[in-house]
């Protein structure tokens, strides 16, 4: 987007602080939306507005939120991975089948993570090595392959009968706070630091803006691409563990449509699908917006199909809203 009228390029790492730029941030809009959702929920149920609600309900929707962090990196790179739902299914099925075949549970959990890593790495290697294939077709075909393997392994059966302690992942608490929420916060901190405080994170943003320029300035772009997709697979496996732990058993058709919800949360969080733009805070807020929205629709006795419609609308509306915002921004001289 080189503008012929800009004679000089000034590069400034940090934008000058001013009240205007401080409040003109996507995250504030999200905070308002979140408060709105909470207000509506409080209106729907007088029992909603309590500290225990905010501590305990997140465990009902946080399982897929673990994928939001690496998916955010994928989208900042300017790519999309729609195979994550299938990766969740595959790693969950592998874990269940391995355990029931006699593997001890800790080993089965490690296997689950390993399967996720391999699935993600496979995507990453294909996308990095075959530049002429688009990420769309690679992840569409692995989406079919991973779930296909899950079906081959388990058919239409369910598998479970895990040891009692396994349910602690999804249901256990640490000093009164659900273990899932603690794990989510830990992941948020790790990924936040990774994205905003390391050269790896800077390279991701750089590649999102201009991958070729990034490569010529000495960044190993292929390795970053593969790492990000591998992280995506790893976190899909983490989701598989929490999901399976909460449900108690697993089937090959588990986590259908997770990719959409995750992508919707990331985009709602202000991450541009054109790449290069987005901060960790937005998607975290978006996770809670979508989660409490779903919870509230449950309170209002709305059926699941309407939730589908709302999440789809949310995705499209937030893409449109981001678009408008960036167009307004672009008219002013950027930094």
């Amino acid at each position: 987007m080189a503008d012929a009228r800009t004679p000089e390029i000034r590069i400034q790492a940090v934008r000058n602080w001013s009240w205007k730029t401080f409040f003109f941030q996507w995250e504030w809009l999200l905070v308002v939306v979140l408060l709105l959702v909470v207000a509506v929920n409080t209106y729907l149920s007088p029992f909603f507005l309590a500290l225990s609600t905010f501590i305990h309900t997140p465990a009902t929707f946080l399982d897929k939120a673990f994928i939001v962090f690496p998916m955010m990196m994928v989208i900042i790179l300017g790519k999309i991975d729609i195979s994550v739902g299938s990766t969740v299914a595959l790693s969950a099925v592998m874990m269940a089948v391995a355990y029931n075949a006699g593997l001890p549970m800790p080993a089965a959990i490690v296997l689950c993570l390993l399967v996720g890593v391999l699935a993600g790495a496979f995507n990453g290697v294909l996308i990095a090595r075959f530049k002429e294939l688009s990420f769309v077709i690679v992840t569409i075909s692995t989406m079919m392959i991973y779930r296909g393997i899950a079906y081959i392994i388990l058919g239409d059966q369910a598998s479970g009968r895990f040891p009692g302690w396994f349910s602690l992942f999804g249901w256990g608490t640490v000093m009164g706070v659900p273990f899932m929420l603690v794990a989510f916060v830990v992941c948020a901190v790790i990924f936040g630091l990774l994205l905003h405080k390391t050269s790896f994170g800077r390279a991701i943003y750089g590649m999102g803006h201009n991958a070729i320029a990034c490569r010529y300035s000495g960044v190993n772009t292929d390795r970053i691409l593969m790492t990000v997709f591998t992280l995506n697979g790893l976190m899909a496996a983490v989701t598989a563990i929490f999901l399976t732990s909460r449900m108690g058993s697993t089937r090959p058709n588990v986590a259908l449509g997770y990719e959409l919800e995750v992508i919707a949360m990331v985009v709602l969080g202000g991450v541009s699908t054109n790449g290069g733009i987005g901060r960790i805070g937005g998607p975290i807020l978006a996770v809670f917006i979508v989660g409490f929205l779903g919870y509230g629709m449950g309170l209002a006795n709305l059926q699941a199909p309407i939730v589908l419609v709302v999440i789809g609308l949310l995705l499209i509306v937030s893409v449109l809203a981001l678009r408008v915002r960036f167009t307004i921004r672009r008219k002013k001289p950027v930094v």
């Binding site: 999309i80 729609i82 294909l126 075959f130 002429e132 294939l133 688009s134 769309v136 077709i137 690679v138 569409i140 075909s141 692995t142 989406m143 079919m144 392959i145 991973y146 779930r147 296909g148 393997i149 079906y151 081959i152 058919g155 239409d156 449509g257 990719e259 959409l260 992508i263 919707a264 985009v267 699908t273 054109n274 059926q303 699941a304 199909p305 309407i306 939730v307 589908l308 419609v309 709302v310 999440i311 789809g312 609308l313 995705l315 499209i316 893409v319 449109l320 678009r323």
Partner: protein, 330 residues
Amino acid sequence: MAGRKVTFTENLRELGLFIFIIALGFAIQMRNPAFLRVSNIVSLLTNTSILGILAVGMMLVLLTRGIDLSIGSTIAFSGMVTALTVARYPGMPALLAVAQGAAIGVVIGMVIGVLVARFDVLPIIATLGMMNIVRGLTYVVSGGRWVSAYQMPDSFKALATGRTLGINNLIVVAIVVYLVATYFMNHTRTGRRIYAVGSNPDAAEVSGIPKRRLVFLVYTIMGGLAGLSGVLWVARFASAQGDTAVGYELQVIAACILGGVSILGGVGKISGLLLGTILFGILANALPLIDVSPFWQMGIQGVTVLVAVMTNAMVIRNTERSALRRRATM
């Protein structure tokens, strides 16, 4: 010169696909002699015709560097609404039902078209969102219930079971769609412009081609064909459910890819598409004949797509490398 070389490689590709289909048919025939019976071939073609109709629309979308993941939902929605309508008004002429279904699809396609063409939303995002919205609406209009065979008038079911000139209606519709598409893509200005937009959007725009209007048109056509297929689908299976055609978009995209349509836009021919669809139809219909469990189907289809695109990429790399070498020695 260069133009001729490209046509040669493309024809080579189609020839290869053709030989592969014959070899595959031969191999399946060895395992199960029922495969090449006329009755089985007719049922194979009947089952593949809906896929074929959709593949034409998907090819147009892929040509413009887009993708449409919402068609499975559009099929379900248009099929469901049409089924509810004919259940309520059994006297309705079947052709009116077809028109209604296609119109619903066109409207959905136009919404996607506006999002992609006017607002520059990435096609994968726009259609992923619409996929959920339309699927949700399907459950909402049906209230989660099915429309079953006994609720549909015979005239409606005859859409898919009846024959025209001794050929099943579905096959006839597919043939008509292919003939129209062949003419449209190869002999009309709009058709050629769609190729131009896909091969180089900037160049197309600079040379005065209304890029956005064509992208809009392509999604509208795709929607219309998906709506039409929804009616045919419901008539064929004599049942409309909320989860009709879940994930069918993947199979349609797979058929296009096998047929040599490039997901990067601008490349793809109707003749190749036809072969790709038939190959995919054989894969889908012959696996049960050779005792492959239906649970293997999704995995096999996924691997086929991946292998197809990777082979294609390798072939192109090789051609380019040898062309480069030839130029270097000259």
